[in-house]
């Protein structure tokens, strides 16, 4: 069960990393760490894509992983820009203290 490495091992690893990232997004209060947890989630997706690319014996999964990395870069850049603007206006990086839109 443990020894011949199959795609299932990579998929389980991806699922574990997705779970860790989701816990980080849901449970942490610091916005910087939340953005890092989103990077973890996107890397879990990449692990899955590469595993299926190897499983099927073609490189389409790798091309999709490149697109995922592109989106991750754009997300990190815009997210950190928003974070700087937020800190300049509100002097806080705690996600639950930014509740202006909350009813």
């Amino acid at each position: 069960m443990l020894y011949p490495i199959t795609a299932t091992h990579y998929l389980v690893l991806g699922a574990a990393m997705l779970a860790i990232g989701t816990i980080g997004v849901l449970a942490r209060r610091n916005i910087v760490v939340i953005l890092m947890a989103i990077e973890l989630i996107l890397n879990a997706v990449n692990i899955n894509l590469i595993a299926f690319s190897r499983h099927l014996g073609q490189v389409h999964g790798q091309v999709f992983a490149i697109f995922v990395i592109t989106v991750a870069v754009a997300e990190a850049a815009v997210g950190l820009g928003i974070l700087i603007a937020l800190f300049r206006n509100r002097e806080t990086v705690q996600a639950d203290e930014i509740n202006l839109l909350k009813w």
């Binding site: 574990a16 990232g21 610091n30 760490v33 870069v73 990190a76 603007a85």
Partner: protein, 168 residues
């Protein structure tokens, strides 16, 4: 083939350790360093899966680019006060329970279907290396998404510059 298994478990351990440390450290700089560790582990997994181009991209772009961006922002934003406050929100136990339930479900389903997921037999030696194959597929079949990705990056550049400007 035991070398493959050894390196898989080594890189998996690096990746998961880095990920857990990332979401549990109090200091954001320590979190960023743990995230670098985790991303290097993922890069090793890419190399193990014969995705050499993505291995290089992962190192250069994630470890070299995004993490420097994160560290810059951590230096710009004063996090000393945040490090002394409560780190987890009130519903952390609910989030943990829900996510662990979903993880157990996914692992159970994957275990049920694990016989289907054998790796394909090694393909006949294709023309060119990994970079040539990726470029071939990327520029022939995915040309429009490629151009759209460049537009997305342009929008992200403009958006981040505007958001980080002096007055918004």
């Amino acid at each position: 083939m035991w070398v493959d298994a050894f390196f898989f478990y080594l890189f998996a351990a690096i990746t998961l350790t880095g990920a857990v440390l990332t979401i549990t450290r109090r200091n954001a700089v320590h979190s960023a360093m743990s995230l670098i560790l985790s991303l290097i582990g993922v890069a090793g997994l890419f190399l193990l899966q014969r995705a050499e181009f993505l291995f290089a991209v992962q190192i250069v772009l994630y470890v070299g680019g995004i993490m420097v961006l994160f560290l810059f922002v951590i230096m710009l934003v004063n996090l000393d006060q945040a490090a002394r406050m409560r780190q987890f929100s009130g519903q952390w136990w609910l989030a943990l329970a829900c996510v662990l339930a979903i993880l157990a479900e996914i692992v159970y389903v994957l275990g049920r279907g694990s016989r289907v997921f054998q790796f394909a037999p090694p393909a006949p030696p294709a023309q060119g290396g990994n970079v040539e194959q990726v470029a071939d597929v990327l520029f022939k079949q995915y040309l429009v998404p490629f151009e759209l990705a460049s537009i997305l990056l342009l929008a992200a550049i403009v958006g981040s510059v505007i958001m980080a400007r002096k007055r918004v």
